[in-house]
Symmetry: C2
Subunit: 287 residues, 2 copies
C-alpha cells in the first residue's frame, strides 16, 4: 500500500479493536475510524488507542475509507455491506465473521446501489481471523492479537485476483498468516474445528449437575471454556452454518458411539486404542 | 504433627513429585523417600528437590515411614496398599488416585498381612488431589501445585475419625482445601466433572478431519486439550469408574439431543436458551 489507506472498522469489539490497535501502532493507516452503535464504546476504543475517531453514523464513518472492515455479528454483515457499498462505492470491503458461505452467497446477489454502479459483491471478499475467544469487547483488544494467527480469506470464482491479493497483504501487514479457501470449504472446516467444539462444550457444561460444580478442575475448565461465549452471537453462527454443523455433529456422535461401545462392553484394548487415536490427533496440533 | 513425620511417596511423577517438593520446602517432613520403578526417574526427582532419597525397593522405602502417599496409576493402588501395610504396619496410608469407590471397596476387604495385625483398611483413607493435568512426570512438579486446590478425601462409615482428621491436616499443610465425601459420591461427581470431559474431549479430537487440523484455533485447543493425557492411565480410570461414567455420558447425550433438536429444527429461540443455560453454568465456575 503506497499511501497508507484510510480504514473504517465497523464494530470495535475484541477483533475490530485489535485490528485498529495493530493498524495504528504499525503506522499502516492514515486514519482509523470506528463505527459503532454506542458512543460510549467508541470513546473507550479511542482512549485505548484502537481508533482515531468514532461515529455512530455509518455513512459518515465510511465516506472517505479505502478499506472497510466489518467486525459485527454475522447476522448483520450482509446489510452492513449493502450500506457500505452505497456510502463508499470505491472502498474495499471485508469482514471478520465466523461463517462465510451464506454471507458471501447473499452479497454476491446484491444489486448495485444505483444503476451504473458496480454491485457490492465486486468490492467484497470474506475474511475470518482465527483469533479471539470467549472474551469480548474492546477492553480485551490487543495489537498483537493477529500476530502469527491464521486469517482465512474466502475468494469465489469471480473474485478479482487483485482483490484477493490486496486482502492477503492487508492481513499479513498485521502479522497474520493467510489461508485461501472457498466460502463453502471454510464453513465445512470451521463447523468441525470451531462450531462443533462450541456446541459440545455447551452441552458438556449443561450436563454437569450443579451440586458438583465446585469439584471441577482444570480439565472441565478447559473443555467447557468456550461455552461462556455469547449465546446471541453463537446462535447466529450455528444458524448460518446449520447443515455443516449438523454434519460435524454426526461425525462426533459416531466417534462417541465407538467410545461408548468400548466402555459399555468392557473392551479395554478398544478403549485404549480410541484414546490413543485421540491423543495422536491432539498432539499433532500442540498446545 | 509435633514431630515432623517421615514420608514415603510411591510414584514420583507430577503429583508425587509436587507433594515431595511441598513437604520439603515447607519443612513438613523429617525425610521424604521416593519409591519408584526406575532409578533414573528417582534420581531426577532427587535433583529437582522432590525427595531426599529414592529406592526401587518398596519394602525398604516405606520401612520407617509414618506416612505413605501412593501416587501411582489407579490399577496398582490396591496391590501397593497391600504391600505397604505389610512392610510398614504403623504407617498411615493414602493415595492420589482419580477413582475411589472400587479401590476403597477392595482395600476394605483386604485381610491382615499376618494374624493379629490390623487389616490394611484400618490405616488407609482415599484421597484425590484435583490438580495436575495432561502434563506428567516429575519435571512438571511444582511445590505450589496443591496451593488453593481441592483435595477430596473419602472416608467410609468405619474410618476412624482420627485418620480422617490427620489426613485433612496433611493436605491442608500443603496449602490445599479438603472436601470430605464418600468414595461412591466421589466417583459419581468425578465422572461428571473429570472423566466425562476427558471422554468428550477425546471423541471431539478424533472426530476432527485431519486435513482441517491446521484450521483449529483456541476454542478447539481448549476443548480437546485433555485428550493429550495418557491413554493407559485413562483407560484404567474409565474402567474403574465405568458405571458412573456411562451415567454421566447419558446425561450429556440428553443435553446434546436438545441442542441437536433446536438446531435441526431451526428453533432459534430454543437454541439461544440452550446456549444461555450452558453459559450460566460455565460462568458460575469462572476461569
Amino acid at each position: 500500500m503506497p499511501d497508507p489507506p484510510r480504514v473504517a472498522i465497523i464494530g470495535v469489539g475484541l477483533i475490530g479493536g485489535s485490528i485498529g490497535l495493530a493498524l495504528r501502532q504499525r503506522g499502516l493507516a492514515q486514519e482509523v475510524v470506528g463505527v459503532g452503535r454506542r458512543m460510549a464504546s467508541l470513546e473507550k476504543a479511542r482512549e485505548l488507542g484502537a481508533i482515531d475517531r468514532g461515529t455512530t453514523n455509518l455513512v459518515e464513518g465510511v465516506a472517505d475509507a479505502d478499506w472497510v472492515i466489518i467486525a459485527t455479528p454475522v447476522d448483520s454483515i450482509v446489510d452492513t455491506v449493502t450500506a457500505v457499498a452505497s456510502a463508499a462505492p470505491r472502498a474495499t470491503i471485508t469482514d471478520a465473521g465466523s461463517t462465510k458461505a451464506q454471507i458471501c452467497r447473499e452479497i454476491k446477489q446484491l444489486p448495485p446501489s444505483e444503476p451504473g454502479r458496480p454491485a457490492p459483491g465486486t468490492h467484497f471478499i470474506g475474511s475470518h481471523p482465527l483469533a479471539g475467544g470467549h472474551r469480548t469487547g474492546p477492553e480485551h483488544a490487543r495489537a498483537d492479537l493477529l500476530v502469527d494467527r491464521l486469517v482465512l480469506v474466502t475468494p469465489e470464482d469471480n473474485t478479482p485476483p487483485g482483490l484477493v491479493e490486496r486482502t492477503k497483504e492487508f492481513w499479513e501487514a498485521l502479522g497474520a498468516e493467510v489461508v485461501l479457501l472457498s466460502p463453502e470449504e471454510h464453513d465445512r472446516a470451521l463447523a468441525a474445528t470451531s462450531h462443533l467444539p462450541h456446541l459440545i462444550a455447551a452441552a458438556l457444561a449443561s450436563a454437569t449437575p450443579e451440586e458438583w460444580l465446585q469439584l471441577t478442575g482444570a480439565g472441565w475448565g478447559d473443555t467447557t471454556r468456550i461455552a461462556a461465549g455469547s449465546p446471541q452471537l453463537w446462535t447466529q453462527i450455528f444458524t448460518q452454518n446449520r447443515a455443516a454443523v449438523l454434519d460435524a455433529l454426526r461425525r462426533f456422535e459416531h466417534r462417541l458411539a465407538q467410545f461408548d461401545a468400548a466402555l459399555s462392553g468392557g473392551d479395554v484394548p478398544a478403549l485404549t486404542l480410541e484414546l490413543q487415536e485421540a491423543k495422536r490427533i491432539r498432539d499433532a496440533v500442540g498446545d
